[in-house]
Symmetry: C2
Subunit: 199 residues, 2 copies
C-alpha cells in the first residue's frame, strides 16, 4: 500500500481532517526489545506537538527506564509542554505512604484508578502506560474496565500501552498494534545488560 493511501474510506461521516485528529490507542507488545523505547520515542513527538505527557510506569524492576525518565524530565516545560512521571513500586507520586507493607496488586489498582481520573479530567494528551499489560495479565486490573474506559474517554487523549502478552481483547480494541519480535539479543551471546543501552 503506498504511503498515505488508505485501504478503505470509513463511512463515519468525518472529514480526513477530523479523522487525523482522532485519538489513537496503541499497543506495543511481543517478546522483543523496543516496546517501551518506542513509546518514549512517541512521547518525543507528542512533546514536540505540545501535548502534555503523563507517564505511568507499572512493574518495578530492573526495567526502570532511568535514562528515558531523566531525558523526558529534562524536556518538562522547556517548550511549555509538561511531562509528568509516575511510578508504581517506589510509591505513586499522588500517594505518600511510608513504611507500610507493599501490596503490588493494590498499587496497580491505585495506578489504574488514577489514570481513570486523569482521563476523565483530560489531564494529559499523551499517556504512556508502561508495562501495563502485566497488571492485567496478573488479574490486578480488569481488562474489560480498561477497554471500556479507553473507548469512552473524552476529548482527544492518545494512549500507548506497552508490555508482553497483551490481552487479545486489548489488541482488538487498539487502533495501532505493533509486535516487537526478538531476532537476536546480546544476552544470547553471553553479554549482560549494558549501560546506556539497556538502562
Amino acid at each position: 500500500m503506498p504511503q498515505g493511501k488508505v485501504a478503505v474510506t470509513p463511512d463515519d461521516g468525518l472529514t480526513t481532517r477530523q479523522r487525523r485528529r482522532q485519538a489513537v490507542f496503541a499497543v506495543h507488545t511481543g517478546a522483543g526489545k523496543g516496546k517501551s523505547t518506542a513509546a518514549f520515542g512517541m512521547a518525543l513527538r507528542a512533546w514536540s506537538a505540545g501535548w502534555p505527557i503523563g507517564v505511568f510506569q507499572f512493574v518495578k524492576s530492573q526495567k526502570w527506564k532511568v535514562g528515558e525518565e531523566s531525558a523526558l524530565k529534562a524536556l518538562d516545560g522547556v517548550n511549555g509542554t509538561p511531562v509528568t512521571w509516575h511510578k508504581m513500586g517506589e510509591g505513586w507520586s499522588w500517594i505518600q505512604r511510608a513504611g507500610t507493607e507493599r501490596d503490588h496488586a493494590a498499587e496497580a489498582a491505585e495506578g489504574w484508578a488514577q489514570i481513570k481520573r486523569d482521563l476523565e479530567k483530560e489531564s494529559y494528551k499523551f499517556y504512556v502506560l508502561d508495562e501495563f499489560t502485566y497488571p492485567m495479565k496478573w488479574g490486578w486490573v480488569d481488562v474489560a474496565d480498561v477497554i471500556a474506559t479507553i473507548k469512552d474517554r473524552p476529548g482527544t487523549q492518545h494512549i500507548v500501552i506497552t508490555g508482553r502478552d497483551a490481552h487479545p481483547d486489548l489488541i482488538a480494541a487498539a487502533d495501532l498494534v505493533t509486535e516487537m519480535t526478538k531476532v537476536k539479543h546480546p544476552m544470547d551471546a553471553g553479554r549482560k545488560g549494558q549501560q546506556g543501552i539497556e538502562w
Copy 2:
C-alpha cells in the same frame, strides 16, 4: 530465561564489567511501526548516559522525524551531551550545495562516507543511522563495507540502524536485532497519518 541471566558465558577472556562496556550494534527492521521511534527512544538513554549522539537520516520522505528532531535538539547540550542531526535530501549538514541537481545515490554515499569518518574519529558514542537499510537495499551503499567498518570501529561506539528489509548479512553481524511486526494500523481502518503520532 530470567532477567539478567545469560544463556552462555562467552570464552572471550573479558569480565562481565568489560562485556557491559562493549559497543552495541543494533538493527530495527520489519514492516511494523516503531523502528525509528525505538531508536530515538534509545537516544534518550544514551543522552542520559552523557554519550554524544549523531543522527543520520537517510531517505527524504513524509517520514522526516520532525517531532523527534525538535525534541532531541532541545536536549542538545542541556546536560553537556551534544546531539547532532544530519539529513540527506535537504542536503547533509557538512555539504552546502545549492541549486544543483539531486543525486540520491551520491548523497547516500556521501552520508556513509561521513559516518565512516566520524567512526574513525570517534565523533559520537551513539549513532542513529535512520532508514539506512534502504540505501543498502538500492545498491547505493555497499553492505559488506558497512559491516566491515562497523566491525572494525575503534573505541566504544554504539550504532543502531533502522529500516525495513535489513540485509541478512547485516542481521548476522548485529548484536541486537528486533523485528517490528505490524499487527494493526489505523490506516487499515481508513485513518490517515495523525499529527503527533505519525510525525
